[in-house]
Amino acid sequence: MIALALLIYWIVDNTVENLRRANIASGFGFLNGRAGFDPGQKLIQFTSDSTYGRALLVGFTNTMLVAVTGIFTATILGFIVGIGRMSNNWLISRLSLAYVELFRNIPPLLVIFFWYSGVLAVLPQARDAISLPFTMYLSNRGLAFPSPVFGDWAFLTFVAFIIAIVASVVLARWSSKRQMATGQTFPVLRSIAALVIGLPLLVFLATGAPLSFDYPVAGKFNLTGGSVVGPEFMSLFLALSFYTAAFIAEIVRAGIRGVSKGQTEAAHALGIRPSLTTRLVVVPQAMRIIIPPLTSQYLNLTKNSSLAIAVGYADLVALGGTILNQTGQSIEIVTIWIIVYLSLSLLTSVFMNWFNAKMALVER
């Protein structure tokens, strides 16, 4: 312990001494300085007059955006491919196998370049953009789509949506309690669907449909108006999703194979239908095997998102790098990077551990 403390002391002392010699100012005060640059993509309000601290926040939200959407898509894709590999259909299982072997054995950076240079960069120029349904346009500048413009009472629709979700949770709990107690089932899925779609729709119509769209139109240089998802985000998002999905597919397959065949046979012997057997017997047990390694894949995806810099996506590392370059505050920026990624990883772990505990076999 003392040795470790001395080691840390020595490192810190050495650093401080070298910084002093190199005449480099230190501390976190620079975060309040004017940034003076414009990031390529921003989810929150940002101008070149905003501070460095806010620029880091822009980077953080961009990282979160690609991580969350990437995790969502990779999970769905991974489950589809993983189950596909066990399909009795020769074509489906071979295709899934080829997918997994291909993406699992290529470095993620190459997958990103593949999407960026190989797929998105060869799309037509903005002026000859491909027209898609709903006034969407696809070009090498990204995907332009109409952006919604909300009217005065539009927030009520969101309120109704949240109420519907809360009501659905209550309903689901009540129905499972009733089933435990009396054995009677209630058409939960259908009622929830009606609630979540119907209630907001009703409010939306009652308030006079306060929604219009801002359509993209061809301007002098680009399509103007509407919203644009740039090729930087798309390539990173697609690459991370496809890459991680290959690993998730294998985890899913391992999880399902890991449930002993006796379980299925026992369920069948009890007269439970095959679809219910999968849902009530196999999947809950497979989840216990799937969740822990799935957590590491989520962490990997989040961390791999820092490869954004290769295609110029304005994530935390890219913007941090710009700030580092302007202010020369290497140590402070690197510290912020470490703290942010560490916290993200720990938070993901905590959440997944909680989820795992919930799914774990409760011994009675």
């Binding site: 040795a3 470790l4 001395l6 080691l7 020595w10 050495n14 001494e17 070298n18 010699r21 190199a22 005449n23 480099i24 100012a25 003076g36 640059f37 414009d38 990031p39 390529g40 101008t47 070149s48 240079s117 960069a121 060869v122 120029q125 903005a126 090498n140 500048r141 301007g219 002098k220 240089f221 680009n222 103007t224 740039g230 090729p231 930087e232 810099i309 290769a310 295609v311 110029g312 304005a314 890219a318 790098g321 710009t322 580092l324 370059n325 302007q326 202010t327 020369g328 290497s330």
Partner: protein, 355 residues
């Protein structure tokens, strides 16, 4: 069995602790391991070469050929410094750095001098801990667009997608210029020059902005150079020059004076071809400059040999020769001397006297 294992584990742990303690002890004793030492010249002489930070590949300024030999305007400055110290222009090792990597590379002592199209600004001169003095290229930021867009001025660029390299003064000037003129733009930002080139060439953006010298150089690398034009506006002052770390005046003097020697040589009309002849010149200024004056200390005061200027000119020629060969009339770039002509010929390249 289990007990045995545990005992063994404890033993290993104890040993690890001892090793760690020894390491820390050694480290604390050897506090002398503090970063780069102050006397860069001594370090350079001891290792036998100059470690020079250059661009990753900007033709005319610094780019490697197929067999890995570097050439260019900035590269010639590295060679000149090596020639001044060792009398041998080959004693240079190049560190290609991106715009973002260059400052930490110099701060940490990984490179001895940064000759990489770097703009001298107050922030870099103070907060970043560098020293600038010699300006080897007076530049300004410009814009390049496709001719097909029919744009005649930068003020017509509202709504355009602009490709720019991150970590440069360019990025900041761009934001300021568009803000000041109330124009909208979408920045498309990359870390490496090659990535910006590829993106512009592929049509990811309408406009490419960087220093004008860079635009001339980059235009040559595009698929169809003649389809692109450089707009007349210059929106900033970009004095480019070699940078060194603060706190080593001797090294700073050497780097600065190598540049001044190149300018003075052009002033005197000394070239690679006639430098030996010029030693016999009756002009006392030239004699002093070339270190042939009796009892001269012209080099030793700098920590170099008295023939340092001769060696520099033999290796790379004078400023005019370097300019013409790499970026001027004798190169594919064909950049005009403009501001970079000698002070006596309508430019602002001026060097203090060697006296």
């Amino acid at each position: 069995m289990r007990d045995g294992n545990e005992r063994q584990q404890k033993k290993v742990l104890k040993m690890a602790k001892k090793i760690l303690a020894a390491l820390v002890g050694a480290a604390v004793m050897g506090i002398g391991t503090h970063g780069a030492s102050a006397a860069t010249l001594d370090d350079v002489k001891a290792k036998g070469f100059v470690q020079c930070g250059v661009n990753t590949g900007l033709s005319g300024f610094a780019s490697p050929d197929a067999s890995g030999n570097w050439s260019g305007f900035d590269v010639d400055y590295c060679k000149a410094i090596a020639a001044a110290i060792f009398g041998d222009a080959t004693k240079v090792k190049y560190s290609p750095t991106s715009a973002k990597e260059r400052f930490p590379a110099l701060q940490s002592g990984e490179v001895d001098v940064l000759a990489r199209n770097t703009t001298w600004t107050i922030n870099r001169d103070t907060a970043l801990g560098f020293n600038f003095r010699a300006v080897n290229y007076y530049d300004g930021q410009g814009f390049m667009v496709r001719k097909g867009l029919n744009v005649k001025s930068a003020l017509e660029l509202s709504g355009a997608a602009v490709c720019v390299q991150t970590g440069t003064t360019t990025e900041l000037n761009l934001a300021d210029y568009f803000k000041a003129n109330n124009l909208q733009y979408n920045p498309v930002v990359f870390e490496k020059l090659e990535e910006v080139n590829a993106a512009y060439d592929a049509g990811r953006c309408d406009v490419y902005t960087t220093d004008q010298s860079g635009l001339y150089s980059l235009r040559l690398t595009l698929a169809a150079p003649d389809d692109h034009m450089i707009l007349p506006e210059i929106i900033s002052k970009e004095p480019l020059g070699p940078a060194v770390r603060q706190g080593d005046d001797q090294w700073f003097d050497i780097v600065s004076w190598v540049h001044y020697a190149l300018i003075n040589a052009e002033d005197f009309g000394i070239t690679t071809a006639n430098v030996e002849e010029m030693k016999k010149s009756p002009n006392p200024d030239v004699q002093r400059f070339l270190g042939v004056e009796a009892d001269t200390k012209i080099g030793t005061d700098l920590g170099l040999g008295n023939e340092w200027a001769v060696n520099v000119i033999k290796a790379v020629g004078n400023y005019g020769e370097i300019f013409d060969r790499n970026i001027g009339a004798g190169s594919p770039l064909k950049i005009e001397r403009g501001l970079n002509a000698l002070w006596s010929k309508g430019g602002i390249q001026y060097a203090p006297p060697v006296r």
